[in-house]
Symmetry: C2
Subunit: 364 residues, 2 copies
């Protein structure tokens, strides 16, 4: 048990309180016994986490590190979540801000199937951001959605995904809708990719994914917080597909800064560890109160070195318009996906003209 995994938390002060919390996390997440329990020396030394000294951050809070035997997470997503944020998630005021992984943990995970370069190769798109949109509104007919998707492809769009609200009541309605939209996009003979929303009962997810790939499609939209991070990981391990991860139902983890998991750690690192090729998140300035710094951190963690895992694409979405394209380029660089929904669909010329207008704003 020599290899260590280090979890970093921000906790309420003062320092003595922060120290107590760090010690409590170290016990709670391993042996879950009172401090005074007469633990055998072997367990106290080899199993119990080791709390570091607290150092002050802003707002009277303190940063503490807890050093765990890496074997307790065993290169597994579920065991990792349980170890670093199982019972700790229930303590008010505890925020997990970082995890430092040993190589053994990272090398046990495959991560993204395509990553940045793989998706560029699929699209033949190099040196520029990608343009994505969402098919909506829910309640539209298959024909309407298929027409929107085809128009977006004609306008030069790269990725058209189902809105995450589109869920199909049955496998047969999923099949029918996906086939029709896929055919409409294919008829345009552009590189544009269509990613259906992979949802439904847990026992059908893999079969639906197989169907999607059988239609010649290359990937899916998925909501990992809904289906489970390790469920996405399992699907990504078994089927070579692009996984575009949507943050639905995950907001409680990060939306309040006083607890939970740091935006970039969850939406950047954990999504990528779980096989996301693309991580969707609400852009700053949109309707969801992410700060520009939080957005840049998500992008950084989705692309920076992480063992041998491929970099993933940040896909900021929401509130994007033709006037902030320069800011988008500045904030996220070329290896980013601009996810534009309403503004593109509402373009006076329709989705085709909308896609063309946004593509023209992109750097080459």
């Amino acid at each position: 048990m020599s290899e260590r995994l280090i979890a970093v938390y921000e906790v309420p002060g003062p320092a003595a309180e922060a120290e107590k919390t760090a010690r409590a996390i170290a016990f709670e997440e391993t042996v879950e016994l009172p401090f005074e329990f007469p633990l055998p020396a072997r367990i106290r030394e080899e199993i119990v986490g080791r709390p570091g000294a607290p150092s002050p951050v802003a707002n009277g809070r303190f940063r503490v590190e807890v050093d765990f035997p890496a074997a307790l997470a065993g290169g597994r997503i579920g065991a990792l979540l349980n170890l670093v944020f199982g019972n700790a998630s229930i303590w008010p005021g505890v925020r997990l801000t970082d995890i430092r992984f040993p190589d053994s943990f990272l090398s046990a995970l495959r991560g993204p199937n395509y990553g940045v370069a793989g998706l560029r190769a699929l699209l033949g798109a190099h040196g520029r951001p990608l343009l994505a949109t969402a098919l909506k509104p829910m309640g539209s007919t298959e024909e309407e959605l298929a027409e929107s998707a085809a128009a977006f492809a004609r306008g030069g769009g790269d990725i058209v995904k189902d809105d995450q609200n589109i869920v199909d009541a049955s496998f047969s309605s999923f099949r029918s809708r996906v086939s029709r939209i896929a055919a409409a996009v294919a008829r345009e003979k552009t590189p544009c990719l269509y990613f259906p929303h992979l949802s439904g009962p847990q026992e059908e997810l893999e079969e639906r994914l197989r169907f999607v790939l059988g239609e010649g499609l290359k990937g899916v939209l998925i909501c990992p917080a809904v289906v489970g991070l390790d469920a996405m990981r399992a699907l990504a391990d078994r089927r070579r597909a692009v996984f575009m991860a949507h943050p639905a139902y995950s907001g409680s983890l990060y939306a309040e800064r006083s607890h939970g998991i740091e935006h970039s750690l969850y939406l950047g690192t954990l999504m990528r560890l779980s096989g996301a090729d693309i991580t969707v998140f609400p852009n700053a300035g949109g309707r969801f109160a992410f700060t520009p710094e939080e957005c840049r951190d998500i992008a950084a963690r989705s692309r920076s070195a992480l063992g041998g895992l491929l970099p993933a694409w940040p896909a900021p979405g929401g509130g994007m318009n033709l006037d902030n394209a320069a800011a988008m380029t500045h904030d996220f660089g070329a290896d980013a996906i601009w996810l534009v929904g309403g503004r593109l669909l509402m373009h006076p010329g329709g989705p085709e003209a909308g896609a063309r207008a946004f593509r023209e704003k992109m750097p080459d």
Copy 2:
């Protein structure tokens, strides 16, 4: 689309702001388009949620109801989470406090396999609370865990479960440990049930469950927030086992009262809808800051009428000792499981005497 599903939220005031948030949720969770988007009348009338008028609650916050077409959740756990708390989870200050389900939604779910009466029948225990403990600490040998479990059974304990921190690196170590503990408990020839922690890679969960049942065991401990609520539902639908749900990794949903999902809605209703026979939660007065009222509400929602679903057992744990047994009885009644960990293991006479001491405190 005549049947409706009603989600109740608490959101920040003033009233005009609360009204705007309710309207935003109604759009965001269905069509996800700006208010001004020219929606076809059919979609505006049949798909978009209908926000009710805000009414003031405490702390300057307001309660608002949003009325959705029930078909959008389609009797599915994943679609439900996405519908009522998908993007809404990402808005700071939004707390989902209640859901009113139509019968059609509830009748599509099977819920708990055993429930209150079924578990009583397995144990032959009637008219009294049940006594449960957790096998720990992680790092103990198989023999040590097996001995603790057997001693607890001899002392009259009802359910001995793995600590949720115990995760097995491989299927073979899981098999070895579970078999040994199961055999040790069986040798005592008491009704005591052993529930191993069902964890591991997603693709192995069902096989591990099959193994557990093959050993003659009747149920498992599981962490639904880690594996996914619908993953538990799928397992419970396919295998008749008792599912004891542990709240690890779910705390961000409820620990801060200003957002997320109400404790009792998540730990009571949603766990039960997803097939939990038993819902574990930190008792008030323990180390996790749940209030007595929140605990009582969890117990109430786990047992009250919910379509044709069986009632589930509340299992308050943490900080329980021999002196607050009367309070436990008063707060939770007979249909509750007392989950006692450290205090029972630390009894001077060991787990057997510890179990006996707690059993003596239980009403008959």
